[in-house]
Amino acid sequence: MGACILAYRLRLGSIHNPGAGLIPFGVAGLLGFMSIGLLLRGLFGSTVGSQREGMFQGVQWRGVTLTLCGLLGYGAAFPILGFRLSTFFLMLLFIGGVGRQKWWLTFTVSLFTVVCAYFIFVVWLGCPFPVGPFGI
């Protein structure tokens, strides 16, 4: 519905000469109506409760949450800490924190990954990644 309002503000034009907002308005309107239909079916349907329970049964939220936090943190740290440091910390978190591997394996694989990624992407492919404090 929000998309409908935004599309309406863009100028709808006419069917003969559609404006920038006409087709987005139509698509958003149709999607809105279908969403309401699905919502009503969900509210008055008989199997929704049990289905929803089954969907998240046995989910290990710790791993999912840590992974998402790691990804968001990487996005925030990347321009500040630079490619090498942020990648190293991300690997530590994923392999050690989410994957629960032994500390020496976590450290070795993380270090090896950073070195390989640096040579592939920075040295070979020439990707201009940000550099962290002290040029690391």
Binding site: L10, L31, L71, Y74, F121
Partner: protein, 497 residues
């Protein structure tokens, strides 16, 4: 024709293109072997890495990933009972049972040889059909294109495993996401919320990587990260004479089914493998044995998915319409390289079309070599713990998505679409219609607006031209069929309740 054929061979045999072909089929096999990332994710992941490569090299590599994944997918299905790729799901049924009976070798061998035969026949079909189709498509106008794209989207939503209603909603959402950015007719910015980086629209790479890469990883790590490889010695990869006798027709039937389902809008390798298995079971003299380790149950779907993988290039290269989500990524890749897929591609860039087609032959031979003698290597890779594998995949996603525009916003967009894709899987919403609709959205809007301009605002234009009329009749027919079958289901449930 012969001169183009020679041109294609010259392009494909250039050392640099041979390298990209090998890299593509190698990565494709790896992706196919490893459960957790499919060809869509891998192609999106490697799209930024191809920016510095020539367009023909990039497309050769991306195509290699796609058809290479169809080969590799069977390995995990047979040895681990986990499909490495969606199109190899059905191979688990008989392939794994064969492995349990000590016949993993012939199962792997038949999958690879069947894939090779089907892939090669399908390339011949691609060469024969694409050129005349592209010639015919030159007479297509905006109404025909609009109707064809509508048909593609509706067929895809019809064929999705879950609810068609939800799939249609996803297609509409995909179209809506495609509107983000500047309007092509009036240069008005739409849904950008003042963010300059969104003026060019949402990037195809963060969207695909999020929907198919990150969401897949999130789904995998929510469960304990352990998998068992069936401990069996793989020996005697070549099937025996008896296997050949029972499989020759299965391979041919799989090839024909796969070829035609690959061309269909909305079809593709997954559908082809399921349909060919069902048909094989139906025509078999011993259908009750399917699922217990019958070699035709491996040969047919594996041939079909490879034939479909190759033939799905036909609508993309000749009409400029991607028939499935993998082709949509390739479509995006071509656009990024400044090449407009469509009827003019074969005429204006013959080196790309014929070079890619010829590289497929070479790729198929490489795949046979990679999948038969080197099978032991792929099995060893399967033993790498997922706890080490998934961080590497995520890191490649992050680096890949950032390097497209050197933008952190793309990283956040990828995470956002990853979460959206994860929730979509949980609530049974298919990501494929969203992705395909997103790619088709600009073309769809342009052809609709042009059609309305031509007709003076009348929608009857879509019913007054033969090709668009046929497509629209199919579109309406499929929608009506779905609604009536839903109503029938409802009526049959009500008396019980």
């Amino acid at each position: 024709m012969l001169e183009y054929f020679t041109l294609g061979i010259q392009v494909a045999l250039q050392p640099v293109n041979l390298f990209y072909c090998f890299a593509g089929v190698f990565i494709g096999t790896l992706i196919g072997v490893l459960p957790g990332i499919g060809p869509v994710g891998a192609m999106s992941l490697l799209l930024p890495a191809t920016f510095s490569v020539s367009p023909v090299g990039a497309i050769i590599m991306m195509s290699g990933i796609f058809y290479g994944a169809q080969y590799g997918g069977s390995t995990t299905s047979i040895l681990v009972n986990i499909p490495g790729e969606a199109s190899s799901v059905i191979t688990c049924l008989d392939g794994y049972q064969m492995a349990r009976k000590g016949r993993a070798g012939p199962a792997l061998g038949m999958a690879a040889i069947g894939s090779f035969i089907a892939g090669t026949i399908s390339i011949v079909g691609l060469m024969v059909l694409a050129y005349p189709l592209a010639k015919a498509a030159l007479s297509f106008g905006p109404p025909e294109y609009f109707a064809l794209m509508c048909l593609g989207l509706v067929v895809l939503t019809f064929l999705t495993q879950g609810s068609m209603y939800k799939a249609l909603m996803m297609a509409l959402l995909g179209i809506l996401l495609g509107f983000v950015g500047l309007d092509m007719f009036t240069a008005t910015s739409r849904f950008t919320f003042g963010v300059n980086e969104l003026m060019d629209g949402i990037g195809i790479v963060p969207l695909m990587m999020g929907l198919f890469g990150v969401s897949e990883i999130l789904t995998n790590i929510e469960q304990p990260m352990k998998r068992k490889i069936y401990e069996t010695k793989i020996k005697g990869l070549l099937p025996n004479l008896q296997d050949w006798v029972v499989c020759k027709w299965a391979i041919l039937r799989g090839t024909v089914i796969g070829f035609f389902l690959g061309i269909l809008p909305g079809g593709g390798a997954v559908l082809a493998s399921f349909v060919s298995y069902a048909i094989e079971k139906k025509v078999s003299k011993y259908p009750e044995k399917f699922g217990t380790g019958v070699i035709e149950g491996v040969a047919a779907p594996e041939s079909a998915n490879n034939a479909a993988a190759q033939s799905s290039f036909i609508p993309l290269l000749s009409l400029g319409i991607p028939p499935n989500v993998v082709m949509a990524v390739l479509f995006g890749g071509l656009l990024i390289h400044g090449i407009q897929p469509g009827p003019l591609l074969i005429r204006s860039h013959p080196e790309i079309f014929w070079g890619v087609v010829m590289s497929m032959y070479i790729g198929n031979v490489m795949l046979l070599a990679l999948n038969l003698p080197l099978i032991g290597m792929w099995v060893r890779i399967l033993k790498v713990p997922y706890a080490i594998l998934f961080p590497l995949i995520l890191l490649f996603c992050l680096i890949g998505v950032y390097s497209v525009n050197n933008s952190v916003l793309d990283i956040y967009l990828m995470i956002l679409f990853g979460v959206v894709g994860y929730l979509m899987r949980k609530f049974d919403f298919e990501p494929a219609p969203l992705a395909l609709a997103y790619v088709l959205s600009p073309l769809l809007e342009t052809s609709l607006r042009q059609s309305l301009n031509i007709s003076g605002g009348s929608f009857l234009i879509f019913f007054s031209r033969p090709i668009s009329l046929v497509c629209m009749v199919f579109v309406i027919g499929l929608l009506v069929f779905q609604i009536t079958s839903y109503a029938k289901r409802k009526r049959s449930i009500l008396p019980v309740e």
